[in-house]
């Protein structure tokens, strides 16, 4: 989403007042809310059907479905908000299967007292994100919970996509000798969120990388149809995602610290807080694993796409019954790259 889009989203709402229990009670207030906020901004032929579900029609190919729930704090953060994130998260989950996302559903759980203006701003942002991804929100649901029983807004989205018969992508497909590639810098989203949530004022504003990756994935698959693994390193960051894949595929991985792209601002923030950028969440980046012979082709395809300009080959898959992910450090030593234990916590001194 561009800065102009964000401003548009911020200024879009003229709504006044706040959500109350009547907005979820099934009566006129709820119908008005759906018409004036959700349908108004998310408008498409499927929603216009006005039924309890959307009639989607037939598709050719295998179907992929993914679900994602969004409970982020703060709801609005540098570079995005929960509305855009709820679209990107699910679009990307479908895309990481190698599928072309077709439709989304969106369910809102709204806390009583939530400002209508903020709700509309979120829906406008969601609509922009859906339009940019080319994936319409075709059905939805709204519930209102009593004050104190929610945290503003929770959004749950489900995505359906279609996968060609030839595509075989999955976390269990990595093989020794394969190349490990990332699409760009690591840690931007997590640090952007942290900076706002914890009132940490950095000298430069770090923006979330939240964005849909279905177009990048399409370009990658066109160049290298035999990509073995795709995954977006969201919560837990690069380290958690590589460990997941290593365990699924029963292989080890060796990456090089100097090859992993990290924005200098993010690196500085991590230094300050004692965090490891490899553990920090991303919302608009992906990891790809492909055969070594395909690596150069895939990298070239990624770097020729606007969302893969900083794509980098960061390491190799190796045979290892312990499924350890290790890293050659910038100093020249070796270390394990582990899952973080629970939430990443700052060091004391």
């Amino acid at each position: 989403m561009t800065a102009a889009d964000l401003r548009l989203a911020a200024n879009a709402s003229n709504a006044r007042g706040s959500v109350d229990m009547t907005h979820g009670a099934g009566g006129r207030a709820m119908a008005d809310l759906i018409r004036d906020v959700f349908h108004k901004h998310l408008a498409n032929d499927y929603l216009a059907q006005g039924n309890d579900g959307a009639l989607l029609g037939s598709v050719s190919g295998r179907l992929v479905m993914a679900a994602d729930s969004h409970v982020i704090s703060p709801l609005f953060f540098p570079g995005g908000d929960i509305g855009a994130l709820s679209v990107h998260g699910t679009v990307n989950d479908v895309a990481m299967m190698g599928a072309r996302p077709l439709w989304l559903s969106a369910s809102f759980i709204i806390e009583e007292g939530f400002p209508l203006a903020d709700l509309e701003r979120i829906v406008v942002s969601m609509a922009l994100a859906a339009r940019q991804a080319g994936v319409p929100v075709v059905t939805g649901d709204t519930k209102v919970v009593e004050k104190g029983k929610g945290d503003g807004v929770f959004i749950s989205t489900t995505g359906v996509g279609v996968l060609s018969e030839a595509t075989d992508i999955g976390g269990g497909n990595a093989r020794p000798g394969d190349a490990i590639i990332v699409s760009g810098t690591m840690g931007d989203h997590g640090i952007a969120i942290l900076s706002k949530r914890e009132h940490l004022d950095f000298e430069t504003e770090i923006l979330s990388d939240t964005q849909p990756l279905n177009d990048l994935v399409a370009a990658m698959l066109a160049a290298v149809p035999g990509i073995r693994v795709l995954r977006d390193p969201t919560r837990g960051g690069l380290s958690a995602t590589l460990n997941e894949i290593a365990h699924q595929s029963k292989v080890g991985m060796v990456i090089r610290e100097t090859a992993v792209p990290v924005n200098p601002e993010v690196a500085a923030a991590c230094e300050l807080l004692g965090l490891d950028p490899l553990n920090v969440a991303n919302e608009g980046k992906l990891i790809a694993i492909c055969g070594a012979d395909d690596a150069a082709t895939l990298l070239a395809a990624m770097r020729s796409h606007p969302k893969g300009l900083d794509a980098a080959l960061i390491g190799e898959v190796v045979a290892d019954e312990h499924a350890l992910v290790t890293m050659r450090t910038r100093l020249g030593g070796m270390r394990v790259v582990d899952w973080i234990a629970g939430e990443q916590l700052p060091r004391i001194c």
């Binding site: 350890l324 290790t326 020249g332 270390r335 582990d338 916590l345 700052p346 001194c349």
Partner: protein, 383 residues
């Protein structure tokens, strides 16, 4: 990143590693204890051990403030949050430390206690201002590095007449702990740890200076090199220690000259002495009772002292007996010597404090270094 990347430069590291290899006497071994958890973390995170000759060993010391906090004090903090219903503010690492019966602050939070992670004492003060009808307690832990900010918080609370803010003070002192490692009777019970020299604390020394270690170096005849937390700092300090050992010298040298001076930060020291005074004794997790090793809040600030404002009743705290944290904190044993390590005790479900804090020896070894036992061939594979 300027002023950081320079201290992680691979070419420089090779140069220093070559110097260490050239000067380390192959006919002897060198055991250097890094007191600070920050050094332990740096050694593992950057794989510094890989650049050392085989006869140079790191011994991981007790310098992690999370690891050395005794269970009883943690149980007290849980009681503050649960029984008195205060907003308990704490640094992040403390959240998961298991107390008696594995009860931690994060468990207390899940059960409804109001425990909040803060990044600074200023955050705790802000929470107190924003919640005038609630008592807010800052759970203060740490060595000399984190003590001045706590002193600032107490003075700010006094100046603002904050009636709902207090500090549960658990600040501890480095020099007395280092002495205790070498001279306490428990060392003989737990086993003798071979130490040829110390990598002295860096952030701590930026406050207290290098001077406090001079008595120690002379009395115990152990060289000390004040070392920065960057990996090249650690390597350069090892080289300086090797030179001292080879020369038979036992001096305090300062590798971290860009931050540490002989006298330290006098302004911070004055502030700390204005607000705190020595405790006659304090229990350390793993080290037992160490005389004059901790601080308490002076009477002038009694109304901001949680120990005086709340009646803390925890009496029977218990550690898991089979946990080897006490021996590991002293450097007598390695993490892998503990039968709980990597089985029932992992960062996901820590039994001992050394596995909780990212600065703890067990957590550092598990998180960054466990491949050394499992896959000796991995290094070659990655070359």
């Amino acid at each position: 990143m300027k002023y950081v990347d320079e201290y992680r430069d691979r070419d420089l590291a090779r140069t220093v590693a070559a110097a260490i290899a050239a000067e380390a006497d192959p006919d002897r071994s060198y055991h250097f204890m890094e007191f600070c958890g920050g050094h332990t973390h740096a050694i593992f995170r950057y794989g510094v051990q890989d650049l050392m000759p085989e006869n140079v060993h790191f011994v991981h010391g007790p310098g992690c403030p999370v690891c050395v906090l005794p269970v009883a004090r943690l149980d007290d903090a849980v009681e503050l949050a649960e029984r008195y219903g205060v907003i308990l503010c704490t640094y992040g690492d403390m959240m998961r430390v298991p107390g008696t019966k594995q009860r931690s602050l994060i468990r207390a939070k899940a059960d409804g206690a109001d425990v909040r992670m803060v990044y600074s004492t200023a955050d705790a003060l802000r929470i107190a201002r924003e919640n005038p009808d609630r008592q807010v307690v800052f759970f203060a832990i740490g060595f000399e590095t984190t003590t001045p900010p706590t002193a600032v918080a107490l003075k700010t609370a006094e100046a603002e007449k904050l009636g709902n803010f207090s500090v549960f003070c658990n600040h501890v002192l480095t020099p007395s702990a280092i002495s205790h490692i070498l001279e306490s009777p428990e060392v003989r019970d737990l086993g003798i740890v071979k130490i040829d020299g110390f990598l002295g604390p860096s952030h701590v020394s930026s406050v207290i200076g290098s001077q406090p270690y001079e008595f120690f170096a002379e009395e115990f005849q152990k060289p000390v090199v004040i070392a920065g937390f960057e990996p090249l700092d650690v390597m350069q300090s090892v080289l300086m220690l090797i030179r001292q050992v080879n020369d038979g010298r036992c001096e305090v040298e300062n590798e971290y000259t860009r931050v540490v001076t002989e006298e330290g930060n006098v302004k911070a020291q004055t502030l700390v002495s204005e607000v705190f005074e020595l405790r006659k004794s304090f229990d350390w997790r793993g080290l037992g009772t160490v005389p004059y090793s901790a601080l308490r809040i002076r009477d002038r600030f009694a109304k901001f002292d949680a120990e005086k404002q709340f009646e803390l009743s925890v009496k029977a705290s218990r550690e898991v007996k089979s946990c080897e944290c006490p021996s590991i904190l002293r450097g007598v044993k390695k993490p892998t010597d503990c039968k709980l390590f990597g089985t029932v005790c992992t960062p996901q479900s820590p039994v001992g404090s050394c596995m909780v804090s990212s600065e703890g020896a067990c957590a550092a070894y598990w998180t960054y270094g466990r491949f050394r036992d499992q896959q000796p061939s991995k290094l070659e594979a990655a070359e």
